[in-house]
């Protein structure tokens, strides 16, 4: 047997198999990372939306500024601007009414999501007490839609609407 020829054949065979291995490993990895990335992304969006709605709906008349700062920190764009503009009246009414609202996020669902944007729906309740409730508490149900965008490695709220 011509060893040279045999070796050339073996080399070609080795290269072909090597390429196949590379392809198989690559395709396996890309499916795994795609699924992982998607799962992680959904989780990140859900966490950010929960924190944001909790901060947004919660009221503590003695601590309005600190809470507002949490909302602003998780906000961007139009929503951030709107919220900042309404902050003064929010602060005044919270103090005047001696309001507190304890917010509980019940469920978070994602309707649309890609690498940098997500449309999120949140069901939440607040337990409200204020001068108007005569010391008793009242549970208020909420249906909220959030438009979220990823800036850097954080998901921020760019839009917030109540679903009527």
């Amino acid at each position: 047997m011509d060893l040279r020829r045999l070796n050339v054949v073996l080399m070609v065979l080795g290269l072909a198999l090597g390429a196949t291995v590379a392809f198989l490993v690559q395709s396996e990895e890309s499916t795994a990372t795609e699924a992982e990335q998607h799962g992680q992304r959904s989780l990140d969006v859900t966490r950010a939306a929960t924190a944001q709605v909790q901060a947004f709906l919660g009221i503590d008349h003695g601590n309005v500024d600190a809470q507002a700062q949490v909302v602003l920190d998780g906000a961007t764009g139009e929503f951030k601007q709107q919220y900042a503009e309404e902050l003064d009246s929010l602060r005044r009414s919270a103090r005047a009414q001696q309001s507190t609202a304890e917010a509980t996020v019940l469920e978070v669902g994602i309707s649309d999501i890609d690498a940098t944007t997500a449309s999120v729906f949140v069901a939440a309740d607040t337990v409200v007490t204020s001068n108007a409730t005569d010391g008793t508490s009242r549970t208020v149900p909420w249906r909220i839609q959030l438009d979220m965008v990823k800036e850097g490695d954080r998901w921020l709220t760019a839009g917030l609407q109540f679903v009527g």
């Binding site: 060893l3 070796n7 065979l13 198999l17 699924a35 469920e107 309707s111 249906r143 839609q145």
Partner: protein, 195 residues
């Protein structure tokens, strides 16, 4: 000059390969053949195993832990959840049995039973007070989803009219709808109203 001549005059080389008349060098050596054979056999075995994994259907646990990635699959699920919950919560006094029948077609047997029991309780009142309830899903969003099971948050508005009151009553609901895929179609396995 002289060195070049010696290195190219291969015919005079004592280690010349008898079949080709050229020196075997590294390329013609037996150890390289052995090494390459080992590499090729190793790679072939690896490709065999990997290829089998890739080509054979993924085992169940892997599927269960996989989120729905495909945008089309997501929108099919969202549309099914919205439409099916509308059907379950919509009924009119003048077409009650038909409405129930329509709604019951895409429920799991267990939930169909639960639904039938619930509707049995509203049947008499619906007829007596000529009640019509129309449910409209205003949004639906995925809480969690695999290929075969999903939980969807549906915001639904129920408008109720009856002979007793002239004004329509609107209830804004928040539902968690459990769905399972039965023969390719999403089917309701449970509905829970939040709050």
């Amino acid at each position: 000059m002289t060195t070049v001549t010696t290195s190219t005059s291969t015919a005079a080389d004592p280690a010349t390969d008898p079949t080709t008349g050229r020196p075997p060098g590294v390329l013609g050596s037996a150890w390289l053949a052995a090494l390459l054979t080992a590499v090729v056999v190793g790679l072939a075995v690896f490709v065999g195993f990997k290829g089998y994994d890739v080509l054979s259907p993924a085992p169940e646990p892997a599927l269960e832990s996989t989120q729905i990635l495909d945008a089309d699959a997501r929108s099919t699920l969202l549309m099914s959840a919205a439409e099916l919950s509308q059907r379950v919560l919509t009924y009119h006094h003048d077409s009650f049995e038909e409405d129930i029948q329509t709604a019951s077609t895409q429920l799991t047997p267990e939930f169909a039973e639960e639904y039938a029991q619930a509707m049995k309780q509203v049947r008499a009142n619906t007829a007596r007070n000529r009640i019509s309830q129309e449910a409209t899903a205003v949004s639906s969003a995925i809480i969690s989803a695999t290929q075969d099971e999903a939980q969807v948050l549906v915001f639904i508005n129920q408008t109720t009219s009856s002979a007793r009151s002239r004004a329509e009553q609107v209830v804004r609901n928040r539902l968690v709808v459990d769905l399972v895929r039965v023969e390719g179609d999403w089917t309701i396995a449970g509905v829970d109203a939040l709050g």
